[in-house]
Amino acid sequence: MTPPAIAPPEDSPRSFADKSNKSAILTAIRFALRVESSAVRHNMQTFNRGRYTATAALPDYEALKDRARAIKENAIENLPALLQTLAESVHRNGGHFHLAADAVDAAGYVRDVCRAAAVRLVVKGKSMTSEEIGLNHVLEASGIEVAETDLAEFILQIADEQPSHIVGPAIHYSRQRITALFKRRFDTDLALDSGQELTAFARTRLREKFLSAGAGITGANLIAADSATLMLVESEGNIRMSSTVPPLHIAIAGAEKIVPTRQDFACFIELLAASSTGQPLTSYTSLITPPLRGAPVVADGPVTDRQFHLVIVDNGRTKMRDDPVLREALYCIRCAACLNSCANFQTVGGHAFGGETYSGGIGGSWEAGTRGLPQARFNELCTGCSRCINQCPVRIDIPWLNENLRHRLSQREAKLPARLRDALTGAPKEDRGVSLQKLFFGRYDHFGKWGARLAWLANPLGRLAPTRAILERAVGLDRRRSMPPFAAPTLVRSAKNLAPAPSTASTAKAVLFADIFTNFGSPARGLAAVKILRALGVDVIVSDCLPDGRAALSQGLIATATRQAQRTAEYLCKYLDEGREIVVVEPSVLAMFHLDYRRLLTSAKGAQQFDRLRAGTFDAGQFIASLLRRLRLDPAKIFPADRSPVGRRVFYHSHCQQKTVGCGSAGYDLLRAAGFDVATSQVECCGMAGSFGYKKEFYELSMAVGEDLFAQVRQADGDIPRALVVSGTSCAEQLHAGLGRPVLHLMQLLTDIVQPPT
């Protein structure tokens, strides 16, 4: 009999903070799923719900976002002048200003200031910038004690871990784990088994530090150049303590935090609170212009000579400013809405989906800018699901940044054979050298075409275990996943056999776009949509099949995606010229037309095409719903639910990108109006997110993300399972994998029951 295995000590998250090595990402995901996921999920979903509620309560939310974006764009454009103005303002106020070129410079300056003032203990408020410059190590190496006073940072300092979130650095700690940590670390008989007790315990310990510290160090959420006013946002009171109680205050902030005037703070005050913690305001929003005039609290009678140092950190930001992609990241106000709204992030948090300091969708750009491109490799966890885009208060297109990082990383690491392969097959020069996996998923247009031609061979082969094993090894397609079988005939070919569209007295003129996923993988959906539209009197034809660029873009093949976008836009605009509206079955393709083409079609002509396509392309469900409204047709008569072959009780899950482009509820509303008993999902994304969940290295994460969705289905089921209805290709595979039940596409359900109007 073997002795019971002794559990190995938990790996420290520090050991995989540096993600320049791909294996670190995989280790981190496994660790996070095993140890941190339940706390992360709970905390992230609480933040996420809070944000939706709080932003909905802002009457001018969209206008505030526009204003915030404009202020940041302008500030970054004029950064050199603002730095000059800010330095003058600080001096005028009687403070000291230092512009630090890099992390070493910044941390060294702070250390020297502390030494000169004979500081033995500093109290610190939460500051990601101080994490970025490694300040604590530098101070401690000089014998200066650093007390982290934000309770999350206090936990991390005890545990020696990096932040897992840019606003809530310890969101990966459950109350139970905090209790265990404190009991291990402190000699105490207290039970410490409630948040209340833990907080009281930390308060007592830190109160002593606040009162005896020689200096307080804070970050800054924003800085006004005209007055050198700092905006400091918090709830615990530790930043107020650190900035006002000790006689010396040192504020450290990245150069991107500067805005021209104090009045510019106005639009950020509510926007930041609502976007980040989902509150109307946090407990404390300080607008202070240090050094303060009021006296600091000292042991033996009042003194009045407060000192203030402002350290502005460059550390790569000037280079980011010169880079058209990373410049976008400088607009970030660190609210973490993109972290909180991200399904992957909600499941693993920033120890897996993050680097040494910065995490989440925006984190890749920050790690790339401040530490270097290889550190940004965790950007692979951005699936491009797009849920963060509308949540960003400064309208940063975060998936676009990550697609670019992916592209750059591929370029940097391209091996010669891959370059040769791509040169021989005619890949655009800029996209040469990508991995086979990225090529496989990014060029589904090629694989789909050949797969469909050879479907008689490819499909049976694809079901065989050895083929799956080979595919898993060669291109990283997880063998536990099943790709939709290649279709023969394709949508385009099947459409040729349809009767010509009725041309007289049509209710609308439309063209159904034969995207590569529908054409090669699921033509039945496209045909179903055509049949429904024709039943409603629409003169609808099916387009040729063109790659729209989605697959390529998601893998960072930006040049390929751009070429495809240009061709597709040119092609589709001809239909718009004919007066046809464009109906799209696959939501991720619709999102290309509504969002991504803005970035891909940059010429004047391209911009015009983007505007036309955005106005002229429609989600199939949305198109049908608005047609019914226009024709004053009752959905319950056109799509009588009692004729449904799967029954009236359905669970409808709408696609992530569909929600982002504003038609997430169209299918749900239509089913309800038709008389279905519909339950729907409350998740940001199913976890499949296009190709993401098919990849071997991300299979477990993808399934873990899906758990919330699966649970919602089970709950809505009750005693009798509901029929599953979706609007996207990959969501169907995910639901099928998670629940082992058939999944219907919305168009297939509707086509089975449609009754032409009388």
Binding site: T149, T285, S286, L292, G294, V297
Partner: protein, 178 residues
Amino acid sequence: MNLIDQFQQAALAAAATVQRVPRDASAIAQAVSAAAVIDGVTAPRIAVAASQDLPADLLDAVRAFPNAVTDRTKTALARTDVGVTEAFAGVATTGSVCVSVDHEYAGPISLLVRQHIAILPADRIIQRPSDLLNPQVLGGVGLTRSFVFITGPSATADMGDLVRGVHGPHHLHIILLV
């Protein structure tokens, strides 16, 4: 809803307490005395910040409490239970009170104590936080002072549950002068 009612509702939602009191020295003293209860103990140690906008005599009766703390050293303030300060503005949509932190000891007095009592004239309530950065509002006072929007007591979600009362006060009581 008028600004005062809106303010009161938002302040309660932020876990503050609100009391309407006539603008009168003895009424204020009575209200402070009644509100200043820490852990069931009445007549705790009270520090009153120097007046900035309100007439000094409005708070003189409170300053004359037998348990008033006048010592401003850190040891004295850290042992003080209740801090009374003026609020120069209130925000209707968020229930925030705006307190100067660069006027004498108003900063530490509103921060180091267990309970903060803010005295807010009802005619200083504005609609939204951003209004305070408008030069036309309240004489542009929000553009020149160092101050803090205080919205409820200090709080944290870092310890697993929502906890009120962290490094700052555990309670925020707002005396609205009407």
